[in-house]
Symmetry: D2
Subunit: 295 residues, 4 copies
């Protein structure tokens, strides 16, 4: 399929997210070839001979040569709860036209959490979730929320009927209320959005949006760039100066996979004698993941 | 007073806005002299002799030489209802750290509209207000809102007590809930914010914030630049190509102030024979304001 | 013609600028309809009935509702002397991939000024030109320049032949040397570039580039938006608070067109008794242009 | 020393770079404490108890929570050859006021390369240098360049004397000509500049500027943030998905440090059977650096 056939197969298709949200591709400028085209103006014609498109795209991504990825542009129409939109809009390098509740009646739809979706507060990570409430509690919470949304909407509509200015009537809408927006962003900045929002520490709701955008839309439109993004950005890990020194001390000792005792001897002096040390924990997890330290 | 004395007299002082909001200056880099300093690197030493600081600042503002105004920077701490913050955050060229309701319990305060502040929808301007409701209605609306805020907060707190993740419990907060943020912006972009948000078509709530920032903080810190901003930006009007042609036709006829009949003959052909024509109405208002057309 | 037919008729077509430069359209996202589409998500369906596309686009431009114009994007390939590129690149809200003289041999072409193009320094405007040198002088200057470019290129090539690093060999290239770049920008920011660079005070060379982009490329692709840009931005004038007060005083006096004496009485107090006053001169020019003051 | 004492000891001090360039601090907003202050508005008061400033700053840097670093701002005056400035100015998120050769006579100083500084083209890295020319060649090159700069300046000055417009006379200045600019940037974006320009693949000239800014100015002003930047950004390495898989295969085999043969068996299938494979070479270097592979 050519890019324009893929575009036509995707355009305006609503990929559902949450109970009533969606993401939808409106337009695209460029394809994998546009990235290569832009890179070659910098690197000159010589690169044409020695490397094919995929190799060049992967090289650019691996070395964070980001400007060629700015040469592709995507435009979406999205429907998102305002709560989630508050996170989304923090990505500043994008163009936005949002549905105006100053001008029009607010969209009559809210993000309703299903009984099996209510999450418990994570004890160790203050900004995370950890597991779900039981079914019975979930049902009560969903019921309670449904009633609250009704109350909230009734208040809004009674104000509108009274003739209150829309810009003021909206002030007590629930953050769960859906909004819609055109959102236009270049591929480099979109990857930055995805790396932050497809990640396991991001909030579940925005992860669902980001993953849908990545998997359903970016992957078919930019297969080489998306693959490179997964390999070199989303699934990469960073070893700090201190992590590297721990590994060097362990590999020098020659006993790999190392045992916890070896690890505790090899770590940075500043990590020793601390009861809690987040950096030490992070290093430990990386080393276990790499098989350098026993699990 | 030196800039640092003015800074010390303003720093952390909470200028109240709405029922429980505020703006507060945290830090500033530069003064009127910094604008001049930066401009002189471009224009060379020659300017020193021929123009004093005020004249140069006014020249820069009048001719939209904006880069020297970027050389001053201001940092604020603000408390704003989320509703209003949604407009604020659309100004992308600024740095923001906002209070996180993912991490912490939401601020227990909402923007409560007072009985005499409830506004009617404007009939002609879809996104504006037009006058206030009577006292009795206002009291009922304020009472209703107070109860709703209580219901909303109780729902939130019952979720928190149950152990629900904060990132999820917050989803039904009212848009009236206050948030807080550090907001850092350069003087050029701050003036852009002010020209859009101190303006009569902006929403009353954000006008109050913008005016407080402009009058209470920018004016004492940058007296020359602020004066130039008022004279050449906020209080300026723009004459379009078509407006200019209307004026030329009227002044050529020699009967100024012109009468409505003269105006209707002098207007652009494309405006004639239209029942409604917003551009014609705008031109009419400008000409009346200038005394070129009778009121 | 549809947008894609216009695109195909323009794409890769090299519009020549200067002796060996060009601008060329590579790709475009959107048309006049995209601006309208984005605006309508904000203003709601209501606008569809009451205003057609052209009226809406003109309204948006007139009131500086800029975000819908960000929804269209253009990509160019340009060849520009480095001297001129130094001005171009100051527009930060754009994506750029430039030909790399670190990686490749510098383009063997320079901007050669023709005998009738050598300009005299403007006496009153320190950053402007004022008329041309005579033919004879022009021929001498062109001859001199040609020799200098040859000397400069020989130095560069001798370094390259010697095996000097390209990143260092380039250090003495003349600023007249051509560079090439992909340049991608949204329509709003392109209009901002055009309003600054098509203007009479901009340097002749960049005016030629900007005018070519505006007239040859933007006009056919975005006929409604470009027309609105000319009417409400490029050809508009701004009346400051002080200008307006002068006009009001003159129209109140009832003698329009006013004479110089009336003008000198009507001006701002702060402008009086000054030998030189640029703001007074600017006001005078605007009033003459409008026929409010005698020429 | 307090921040303002450090500022006073640094302000306007010219740190020399190259033969006649410099960087100089003009102003600063904030210190390490400002980063912490901004972070705490997000994370709430709770963080105050459990972590001190240094730990928090290191956590933010390690996890790329970049917004608090935007809350500090630095302003420099720099003198840089135009050649080098062309790279510098590609960092778009900064404010710039540059010396104008349209308005003023070009600075009469060029970057002159010393006899022992002339570099050979790198054979394998097309955009790099590799060693120096011998003294004798170097002396000839320096002599040649000196003459060329003289010729170039004479041409420029003869044009100026003739009364040529400065905006045109400058067109044949050598790229070695120094320019000056005020450059203002927030700490986050400055670290981004430093990580790209202090790095070994960057061009020597800009490395010297970046290193001077980092070591002489940022380090004393932001000791905790700068240390974190070195540990977690500049001196970190990134392991791609494929690198990680190679390491896992090697650690599973249990023979660490591995031999070249083991490495060649453990690498990604797609890297095998290729004569040249840059990604394989990069992986190899990382593994040797970590002691996982024999040198």
């Amino acid at each position: 399929m050519t890019q324009s056939e893929i575009l036509e197969s995707l355009r305006w298709k609503k990929f559902p997210v949450l109970n009533d949200g969606f993401v939808s591709l409106v337009d695209v400028m460029g394809d994998d070839g546009s990235i290569v085209q832009a890179a070659r103006v910098s690197y000159g014609e010589g690169t044409k001979k020695s490397s094919d498109d995929r190799t060049l795209i992967r090289y650019l991504m691996r070395h964070q040569h980001t400007t060629p990825f700015e040469m592709a542009e995507l435009k979406f129409l999205v429907r998102v709860p305002m709560d989630c939109w508050r996170q989304w809009i923090r990505h500043r390098t994008a163009s936005v036209n949002e549905y105006s509740t100053r001008y029009s009646i607010a969209i009559n739809s809210t993000y309703q959490t299903q009984p099996d979706e209510w999450r418990r507060q994570n004890k160790s990570n203050r900004q995370g979730s950890d597991g779900f409430f039981d079914r019975e509690t979930g049902e009560r919470l969903t019921e309670e929320e449904k009633k609250f949304h009704q109350t909230s909407r009734e208040l809004y509509e009674s104000r509108i009927e009274l003739g209150m200015a829309r810009e003021q009537a909206r002030k007590d809408l629930s953050l769960s209320t859906y909004t819609e927006a055109y959102w236009k962003i270049d591929l480099h900045n979109l990857f930055h959005f995805l790396v932050l929002r497809m990640e396991s520490n991001a909030q579940s709701e925005i992860v669902q949006y980001a993953t849908t955008i990545g998997e359903k839309i970016v992957r078919p439109l930019f297969p080489m760039a998306y693959e490179a993004f997964l390999d070199y950005s989303l699934k990469s890990i960073r070893l700090t100066r201190l992590d590297q020194e721990v590994i060097v001390r362990l590999t020098e000792s020659g006993k790999i996979p190392a045992k916890m005792d070896d690890f505790l001897k090899a770590i940075d002096e500043s990590w020793k004698n601390l009861e809690r040390c987040r950096e030490r924990d992070e290093c430990l997890q990386k080393l276990q993941r790499l098989g350098i330290l026993e699990k």
